[in-house]
Amino acid sequence: MANIRLSNISKRFGNTDVLDGIDLDINDKEFVTLVGPSGCGKSTLLRIIAGLESADTGTVSINDTDVTGIRPANRNLSMVFQSYALYPHLSVAQNMLTPLKLRDLSFLQRLPMIGPLLAKTEYQTLYQQVKKTAQILKIENLLERKPGQLSGGQRQRAALGRAMVRDPLAFLMDEPLSNLDAALRVHMRSELTQLHQRLKTTFVYVTHDQSEALTMSDKMAVMMKGKILQYGPPDEIYHNPQTTDVARFVGSPAINIIPGSTDETGCVSLLGRSLGIYISSPRTSIQIGLRPEHLSLSEDSSNSFPGIIRHIENLGSDLFYHLEVEGMRQRIVVRTSQSEGRRLPLGSLTCFTAEKDKHLVFDENGNRLTTKSQKLAEVA
């Protein structure tokens, strides 16, 4: 129940810029993912939002209140850690009770032995809250166990429970699924999204896994080298990346980036063949991005590009063909459905075509160029 606004956040560790002038607006009830390769500063940014780390410059505000100098305990956010960080000597119930006790009870009431005697009713209401949260997460039967007696997925739930139990303004999650096995991770993704819909609270989620970001978030911020490269809904990021870095990072297998060229009118050609799309001014060197699913194998060699099959990845539902194309060091990945792919053996020569209007054109520095289907001069 909070919006979070970051402006001009910078952070240096020694001589390295970890974060470089980050601006980010997170709206109320949004599920925002910070995604990027390891070392891009996403966890540091999350810790700055939490207050566990202080930024060198810039401000953090929650609900339009500047909280830059306010300590984490007073920001009323809760965090789920990668290692879960459950207190190993306390049972799951006591773990979940801890944030409630620390916030709602006085020092005397928190004393062991005497505390529960002094504040019987308070303890009962707090315990009811724990039970309610445990019911939502389906961990009621684990409440009396110690974290050491739980499996990874159960610990994950207990950590979520500890974060949820006190109705924080927002949830911060630092790669919470990365310690789980693959099947459980996929399952927890949908549980977390459902939890987000149910709680109607702001979620800030850090991950290095682009598929988590794509599947779970309302908006994702792709970070690299301490900067946010692009911020927007997953669809927008996937279909309309603004730089080659974003295009390469999002999507699996990675996008094909193929060098292209233009003629003097700005008409783009790919591997020597004109595509019939134009950029505003002719450039010597451009790059063209094509996602594997926008390519298809074809028998017809007249309007397609030849390539030799060097590697086949079988994913069950799909086949990925890695093609060697003459004049290119990098291999082209083509996605096909199982039925059409079966026939082609390794090492055979085939052709591939690209779907029209799916070309993403970037300049030599990797920035996106707008394309038109007609020559720009004619339009004007």
Binding site: R47, A50, L52, R71, P72, A73, N74, L77, S78, M79, F81, Q82, S83, A85, L86, Y87, P88, H89, L90, T98, P99, L102, R103, K146, G148, R162
Partner: protein
């Protein structure tokens, strides 16, 4: 040889050595403790529980237990507390941590016999630095304290030779010598606490350092504490060299510093009463055994985390 017997050959060397250097001597001591054997005597008489009876009835041995228990129950809590305190303080430093570590650990490495001579000087009633420093305070507000006023009026205590002070003075030196060791153990324990737990505690609303200590540090140091306390107990029961250095004539003023190890040495070695010496050894072993059992129990019960 059948497969099922192979394990015997594998454990045999260890078992043999354990029998030879641990089990047999312990049973030998137990056997000796029922006799009046002296070294050099061709034979010894079986005297039954007479040695134990002496130990539990004679005032000398009552003083022995008194001195040992005083020493142990003063030194153990204070060395553990100071060790933990010093470790926490050093851990919180950003600079000079290594310097303090070295300073506090120095007494552990130093030979206590040599240190005892220095302390003997320091505690000397007239030329010692302790009492001459105390005399500087005479005539100031400190004299409102009646103990201090008495000291100024007559003399300050003869720390090492007054029977009301000797055991506490020796305990003080024991603490000075011992807490550095506990500090090192606690420092090792502190480094193994995951940092994320402190972050989690902060997010959960633990605002004061005391709350973080109660919630994270102290429970996570549980296994270390059990070990430190046990080691401190055993080391304190074994105190000997300092007493021998200060009071070679036997246990300090009216035997107030007559600790167990010294009694053992005096009876068994100096006076060649092997029977009594062996009986003291057996009692000492029982103490250590009890402590170890308590430690095992605590480790299994309370501090079994993962």
């Amino acid at each position: 040889m059948s497969q099922s017997r192979a394990y015997l050959w594998l454990i045999a060397p260890a078992l043999f050595l354990m029998l030879l250097i641990l089990i047999i001597p312990i049973f030998a001591a137990l056997g000796l403790s029922f006799t009046n054997y002296s070294l050099g005597n061709p034979q010894a008489n079986f005297v039954g529980l007479q040695n134990y009876e002496q130990i539990f009835t004679r005032t000398t041995y009552q003083k022995m237990f008194g001195a040992t228990i005083r020493y142990v129950f003063v030194v153990v809590p204070i060395t553990v507390g100071l060790g933990l305190g010093a470790a926490l303080l050093i851990k919180s430093l950003t600079r000079f941590g290594d310097l303090y570590k070295t300073i506090y650990f120095l007494p552990v490495m130093a030979a206590l016999i040599a240190m005892a001579i220095v302390w003997e000087f320091a505690f000397h009633p007239t030329i010692g630095i302790i009492n001459s420093t105390l005399e500087q305070g005479c005539g100031t507000v400190l004299e409102n304290w009646s103990w201090y006023a008495n000291g100024c009026e007559r003399t300050f205590p003869l720390w090492l030779t007054d029977r009301n002070y000797a055991i506490w003075t020796v305990s003080f030196i024991g603490i000075w010598q011992g807490f550095g060791f506990n500090m090192v153990l606690y420092l090792a324990g502190l480094t193994s606490i995951p940092k994320e737990l402190y972050s989690a505690a902060e997010m959960d609303g633990a605002k004061s350092s005391w709350e973080r200590f109660r919630l994270v540090t102290w429970p996570m140091l549980g296994p270390t504490t059990v070990f430190v306390v046990t080691i401190s107990f055993i080391r304190s029961f074994q105190v000997f060299d300092m007493v021998e250095a200060f009071y070679p004539q036997g246990g300090g003023p009216s035997k107030s510093v007559y600790v167990m190890m010294f009694a053992l040495y005096e009876k068994g070695i100096q006076q060649n009463l092997m029977g009594i010496g062996a009986a003291i050894t057996v009692i000492f072993l029982i103490f250590v055994m009890l402590l170890t059992i308590v430690q095992r129990w605590l480790v299994d019960k309370r501090t079994h985390y993962v």
